[in-house]
Amino acid sequence: MALSGYVPAADDQLEFQDFPEDEVGPAAPNSFTGLPDPHDAEEKDDLLTGDRTQASFWTFEYYQAFFDVDTHQVMSRLLGSFIPRLHSNYLQTYIRPNPDLYGPFWVCATLICTIAISGDLAAFMQTSGKMDFAWQADFKKVSIAATAIFCYAWLVPLILWALLWFRGSSSSYTFLEIACVYGYSLTVYVPISILWVIPFVWLRWLLLVIGTSTSGFVLLWAFWPAVRDEGKKIIGIGCMLLVGLMHVGLAIGFLLYFFQVPEYTTGSTITPAANTTMSTTTTKMPSNVT
């Protein structure tokens, strides 16, 4: 009795219905679930960083995941890479949620340009008194700078990651995170390489010391938790020493290779007159660079 009364009613209800277009809008799923809209850009970072789906290696989306950063994130990472903070670890506070490759790549590209250009400018200023110096963009310098910087930013993190993995470090730093820290740690050399145009040797070395000590401190502080509970102390300390020495060595290499004045004329040194023209052009040129 109850069943026979029920069936026709179900037959009436199980029909397709037309809903007007304005009721089935993009906001409709929210009314059913009560969840916030996942397409909302504000909420996306907080909600989806934990369980991000991994796309296939051969798709474009796989690489887009490495560039998933916003302007304010990049800015804070750039600043944090050379402002030492004792109470916070750079890798764990700035990089950890999602390491990106945007910053490392463009920091390296910028550094190649600034080093090659300001090296050229420095050579131009110190030889501007001599008429026979043909001043041109030196592509050999650009390619050497590019090779050195990209090798440093990729090979050193690879070695460090392999070492940590081999020693079974408990910190679980991924290669991407280490590469990201290394890429951002070169940030401080960009303004320094522009300031190296000023032709005072003591100023150049002073800038080098300031820059390498601040960014080197951030770098070492970021990797310290990874080697702190290392079984053999000598390997942990050696690892830290290697990281620090390579960071300083890169900067010294830049300064010695790109900013030493080659002698183009036989035996003649730079006269005081040439020095004054240099300083006048110095005041003019950085406004062009920066």
């Binding site: 998933d68 302007t71 304010h72 463009w106 041109q136 062009n288």
Partner: protein, 237 residues
């Protein structure tokens, strides 16, 4: 009423509608015969005609050049006009890139190394590779712009810098590269062209980016034009 009967009714209704619409279709028209003189003349007169098979080569070239010219004008008045993005082509970028590389060519007699051809190739590769890398970057950070559209915009926006290179070459013809006044002129011209190129291309490209990533998309463009501007400025002879 059963469901199948209702479906048959609906189908009948659709056939009736189809019959009516076929009956109203205009099936008359002229058949274009390629050999016929009158039809060829008509096709040549009407430039908006999509059939470009029969038109003279000159008309094709002129029309393409006109399209390039329209885009050059857009670079000088960078309004928010999507025309440059919609009808992209690579003729303008190729033209500008070759002009720039030829202007920055180094004399073969120069013993600085490399010879003339090396510098031509370097400038050419820097421009195309730079445009490709900048485009890849804007795609990777989530820009809604197609690959060749972006290359097209970046290439066309080299126009101010190409003009600056021509001006610099004329300035260098006037006097020696050692004069401070002439050097200052070159710096000012290249800086203005660099600013104009960056402004024009970011006006086009920034719209395709999410608002919080505009700076991330614009910075590589800035760097790209800066390097090209530096190449122009550093070309001293």
């Amino acid at each position: 009423m059963s469901t199948s009967a209702r479906n048959a009714d609906t189908a009948d209704f659709h056939y009736e509608q189809l019959d009516q619409s076929i009956g109203e279709l205009d099936l008359e028209g002229d058949i274009m015969v390629p050999g016929a003189a009158s039809s060829v003349a008509a096709a040549a007169d009407d430039l908006s005609d999509p059939d470009t098979l029969d038109e003279p080569v000159l008309a094709t070239v002129v029309r393409d050049l006109r399209a390039v010219g329209v885009k050059f004008r857009h670079v000088f008045y960078p309004r928010r006009n999507p025309a440059l993005l919609r009808d992209w082509d690579l003729w303008g970028p190729l033209l500008l890139c070759i002009t720039l590389a030829a202007l920055l060519r180094r004399d073969g007699s120069d013993d600085g190394g490399g010879g003339g051809d090396a510098h031509f190739a370097e400038v050419f590769v820097v421009i195309w590779l730079g445009a490709v890398v900048v485009t890849l970057n804007s795609k990777l950070i989530g820009g809604a712009i197609s690959f060749l559209q972006s290359v097209c915009v970046l290439g066309y926006c080299l126009l101010p810098l190409t003009i600056a290179a021509v001006v610099c070459q004329l300035v260098l013809l006037l006097g020696s590269s050692e004069s401070v006044g002439l050097f200052a002129t070159r710096v000012i011209v290249v800086a203005a062209a660099f600013a104009w190129s960056t402004f024009a291309s970011t006006a086009f490209v920034a719209d395709s980016q999410p608002p919080r990533r505009k700076v991330l998309a614009c910075y590589p463009i800035f760097l790209f034009y800066f390097v090209v501007g530096w190449l122009i400025l550093s070309h001293a002879r």
